[in-house]
Amino acid sequence: MFINKIKNRIKNYKKGFTLIELLIATGIFVMVIITLSQVYISIIRSERVAYALLTAENNIRNKLELIARSIRMGKNFDFDKDYKICFDYYLEKKWRKVCYQYNNFNIEQFIEGLADNFEPLFDPNLKITKAHFYQRGDQINSQLTVVVSLEIETEIRNQIFTFHLETAITPRIVVKES
């Protein structure tokens, strides 16, 4: 019979693994798996950190470039100490008053007729610890340049990353309108 044939074949295999062999093999296997999973976990962790930092970097670059572009195309600049700047900017068919100010660990934006209040510009995960809009040049005897400097902190997995950013923007309009 077919089943007897198989039974006989199984009986012929006398040797299997001993208990010790099995334990050693399992032990090695477990050790390797644990090591590999540690590596895998740390890869995933650092990937998350890298990705979060990349997102933060994207947001900073995007928003700072937005501020820079509007200053570049603006006119009639008005500074309030070092933390607020207002100017005219052509948007949606007319010159509108646009303001940027440092408040509540963020840079807030105001656009006349489009946003009634100051609205935070940067990602709330970013904490802007210091911000300045410095005026260089007086628009009468010399050209104006706005120096924007930001100190931004972001906390990723209990680690704080700090950005020290500074850029200058010279408006494209040369003469102040009277």
Binding site: V32, L36, S46, R61, T145, T162, V174
Partner: protein
């Protein structure tokens, strides 16, 4: 069961295992390394841009002076060919240096939050502005920035052209 593994088989098996684990570790260290590079690169990009904008301010100031008739000055006053350093302190002027001089690093002033020269803590950022004549009414401005992150040197070059469009 007389036969075990041969030495070659064992070596191959172990080396495959090591390559697998090692590449994982390398990946981790590379990822963490690049994370720190990102931060400095972002600062560098904006600092390079700043260099160009400050030079533009000097040219525009010349235009304003020409318009206000304060003496007869050239649109390229203070913008002759050469290598320079510039920071945001007033008055905005280019300080000539030798083109191969790469020792004047920017410092960071914690109170003002500004990158200046000889004012604040040391940074690894070095910025050089280079001006070249293209024609009577056009100059090329090159903002070169070099910095060090974890003992690796990176650099970045931004180029802009300024014109005498205000010609009067």
């Amino acid at each position: 069961m007389k036969k075990g593994f041969t030495l070659v088989e064992a070596l191959i098996a172990i080396s495959i295992l090591i390559i697998g684990i090692l590449s994982g570790f390398i990946l981790v260290t590379r990822a963490l390394y690049n994370v720190s590079v990102i931060q400095d690169r972002l600062s560098a990009v904006f600092l390079a841009q700043e260099g160009i904008e400050l030079v533009r301010n000097i040219r525009d100031t010349n235009f304003i002076k020409i318009l206000n008739n304060k003496g007869t000055i050239s649109w390229r006053e203070g913008l002759s060919d050469g290598c320079y350093l510039i920071d945001t302190s007033m008055p905005l002027t280019l300080k000539p240096i030798a083109c191969n001089n790469e020792n004047d690093y920017l410092t960071y002033n914690q109170d003002l939050n500004l990158y200046l020269y000889n004012n604040g803590s040391n940074t690894s950022f070095y910025r050089q502005i280079k001006i070249e004549t293209i024609s009577d009414d056009e100059i090329r401005v090159i903002s070169f920035i070099k910095w060090k992150t974890r003992n690796m040197i990176f650099d970045l070059t931004v180029e802009d052209h300024l014109y005498n469009w205000f010609k009067v």
